[in-house]
């Protein structure tokens, strides 16, 4: 129990170093237009894929609602939106991205339309781990004027934790599992992290939306 005494300080130091790590900034963005048009309800349309992995768009679409909603916005139900677009002949994400944002926003009653594209998704199989480089881009267009009010592009390198001991034994075990069960790697955590970074990072993410207490009060950060 005596060992406890020391922990708060160490922990505090650690927390500070972490917090500092979070706020490494890219050049500040201009949020003038965003603030002026002040979107509250965001329509996320299906994700465009420029990588070779066909699963990637679904990973990004299923993990985008949480971070945007948690930023204080209304996010239209992504699956319902996807189905509606599909059933109306807009199954192809490229086609949706090329269509008129004003018209789209009007049909759904949205303030802004969020377009996501996966520019890169390269898996590199190293000896003991897999490293994935992801590059993704967000463009938010105003539903009234059609102009871009926010955009962000990020590159992330990710090495999934390989449970099950690791080492060569682990690798062999994994290879066997993969061969037997055709195990598909789980990239939900990766896409969750990517979307969260893209949407919440100070100076590059989305400012707090109307459902957050900090709405309109975070101009020093966005």
């Amino acid at each position: 129990m005596t060992s406890r005494k020391k922990t708060p300080f160490t922990v505090a130091m650690f927390v500070f170093s972490l917090a500092a790590g979070c706020s490494t900034t890219s050049p500040p963005k201009d949020y003038t237009k965003f603030r002026e048009l002040d979107p509250k309800a965001i329509l996320v349309v299906p994700v465009v894929n420029r990588s070779v992995d066909v699963n990637v768009p679904d990973y990004f679409l299923t993990t985008i609602s949480r971070p945007v909603a948690e930023r204080g916005y209304y996010v239209f139900p992504v699956n319902l939106v996807k189905q509606i677009l599909q059933d109306d002949g807009l199954a192809d994400a490229d086609m949706v991205h090329a269509s008129n944002p004003i018209r789209l926003a009007e049909l759904f009653g949205a303030d802004a339309v969020l377009y996501i594209s996966i520019e890169r998704w390269d898996a590199q199989y190293l000896v003991l781990s897999t490293q994935i480089t992801v590059k993704f881009k967000y463009i938010l267009k105003c539903g009234k004027t059609g102009e871009t009010i926010w955009e962000s592009s990020e590159t992330m390198i990710y090495s999934p934790q390989q449970s099950g001991g690791g080492g060569l034994g682990g690798l062999v075990a994994m290879a066997i599992t993969a061969a037997v069960a055709k195990a598909v790697p789980n990239y939900i955590p990766l896409s969750q992290q990517a979307n969260k970074n893209g949407v919440t990072k100070p100076h590059s993410g989305l400012p707090a939306g109307p459902y957050l207490d900090t709405y309109g009060k975070d101009k020093d950060m966005f």
Partner: protein
Amino acid sequence: MRTRLLLLLTVILLGLSGCAATNKYHWGNYEKSLYGYYKNPSELETLTESLANIIAEGETDGKVPPGIYAEYAYILYISGKKQESISYFEKEKKSWPESSVLMEKMVTMAKGGDKKESSQNTEPAPGGGIVQ
């Protein structure tokens, strides 16, 4: 001592990952179940349960995320439960006025849609021509 410290740090690290980890809403298994459904449409049941759980849990303290009532309503709709689906589309509209335009269209569609209780594949377009 080291173990204890390490444990504490791990807990804090988990809590902090991504800078701000406090969740405004209950999300349950939302991502996993929706992704599972995309990969394998026969997992509709799992998605339905997952959405129902999010609603049940979220309603206890007003933390149902935006869009969830509507996602659930749509799943009910394609499962042939039209009446139930209407009430959930209306719940979405009531909870999130921003969704009014879309929810009114969905309610109209669910009310006027094909009377026969059919499976997902033979349903008329859920959008009912919304994007035309």
